[in-house]
Symmetry: C3
């Protein structure tokens, strides 16, 4: 597929951005170099690893692509200038856009692997969302915080969820697999970007007046 | 087995009650709809999922019974009136009784699957307890609390533990499997109900004067 | 191998010491007997269990050696006098030395199992470190703390990491497996003991002036 080089660039960038979000959180907690690496690693690979454990798929993503492990090690070593750079407005915006693209890519990759394993569609969409968001959940658990994705009221998991349903739906009506993949990932990433641009909010649940 | 419809009712009710305990905890943490669903889901299925990972059993319980995933999704959507209802004394008492029945059912189901996998009896009882209580442990970890089951000094895991030994013991002396199941689940649920009724306490360990 | 009895003694001692570190932490959190056992168990076996899940190895270490489960149960029962004893300076020092020996043994055991599973060297070293330190990480997550190994600025995971590279390097140049094992474990344990004796520190990352 001629899209492969583009997808590889998005994948590397998305791992890079996830790892950086781990670096930032670990830095805030005043961790040492070991903690910074561990949290960056878990943020980047935790979602895919949990999915692989749940659907019993081996080798794990990062065992298969060991270059990515070296990438996170290298990122940890250059964390000091990296973290300074993330304080610039332009860099921060770039990280958000890359993260949104990565969310779509990872969610639909996860959904796709689960579909290939023959699981029912509700499980396929759940696994897509798990792949996209559980790295961040594990980061927050290791940093002793309530997971931001459950509590910051910004649409993130929901964007992945919608993208997964688009993917599953197009597959269900027999669309080409590359089309279903692109439409699903595009929906997830597009919704995430729109949510960021528009400041969309997920309400507390139950909503306040019920509380 | 003629008990099957009854067991199915208990199973659905127990999942329902576990999910509600997740809803309540997530609501206390001011989570959004995504967090409420995730915590409810993990509370309902976390214990069985951990057991299945540890004994390498697939498909996972909730992959096999995908209806239960839809049940938790539906529960999340109707959380506002549900949570209002749980504030009534009668409903609260009903939840406790259902939870006690579910504890017995889940613990002995977990023990039974582990026994069928040919594991030693100490592992069988541990897996029974894990199935019964680790959903709640994961709920508390995600909500950034010390797990209540480790710290609230109410007999819960211990009730499951005793029930599992009754199940294992009756199996060991060659009792019919349905009898062992019922006696084990009855012991666990009965002890839990007695503990609730009598206000039994598990001491801190080591006990205070040693502290 | 004539070293086997010695290794068995170190293994039992290391499990014993890990479990005690769990007992101490659970006691600090005022847990009940159930929590104390659960935290001791997870501290002792969590790292190896995570490794086995990740490399898909069964039966799990503690399922294979069920005697160790009984050991942790027995330790929990005698926790009151045990915890009193750990307050003596000599006992505390003994625990640190035993823990350092256990770190080397467990890290290189984990690396060795991963190497035998045919994984690449970076994964082998990572799994060695995971085996050595993730029991403590899980202990701290269950006790609702930021994992000490990520934040206390004492060399621990790094000692295991260095030992694993020595093991992998010696294997790579075709050394006898017992020699690679001993040299790796000796490096990890020796570095840990030197770090304790010399009060070595791991810097926060990025270092302060970058903060």
């Amino acid at each position: 597929m001629t899209l492969d080089p583009l997808l590889a660039v998005i994948e590397v960038s998305a791992i890079f951005v996830s790892a950086i979000s781990g670096l930032i959180e670990a830095f805030r907690k005043r961790m040492d170099a070991v903690g910074v690496f561990a949290v960056a690693f878990v943020t980047a690979f935790g979602g895919g690893t949990l999915r692989d454990l749940l659907i019993d798929r081996r080798p794990l993503f990062w065992v298969q692509h060991q270059g990515y492990v070296w990438l996170v090690l290298a990122l940890t070593l250059i964390a000091p200038p990296l973290l300074r750079a993330t304080r610039h407005h332009v860099v921060d915006r770039l990280l958000q856009v890359t993260d949104a693209l990565g969310l779509g890519l990872f969610a639909i990759s996860g959904a796709s692997l689960t579909l290939a394993a023959g699981m029912p569609v509700i499980i396929v969409t759940l696994m897509g969302v798990v792949t996209g968001v559980f790295g961040g959940v594990m980061r927050d658990v290791l940093c002793n915080e309530v997971p931001a994705v459950f509590q910051d009221h910004q649409p993130y998991a929901l964007c992945a969820f919608c993208g997964c349903w688009v993917f599953v739906g197009l597959n269900g009506i027999g669309a080409e697999s590359w089309l279903a993949f692109l439409a699903g990932a595009g929906t997830a990433s597009g919704l995430r970007l729109a949510a960021l641009a528009g400041g969309w909010r997920v309400p507390p649940w139950p909503p306040d007046r019920e509380g």
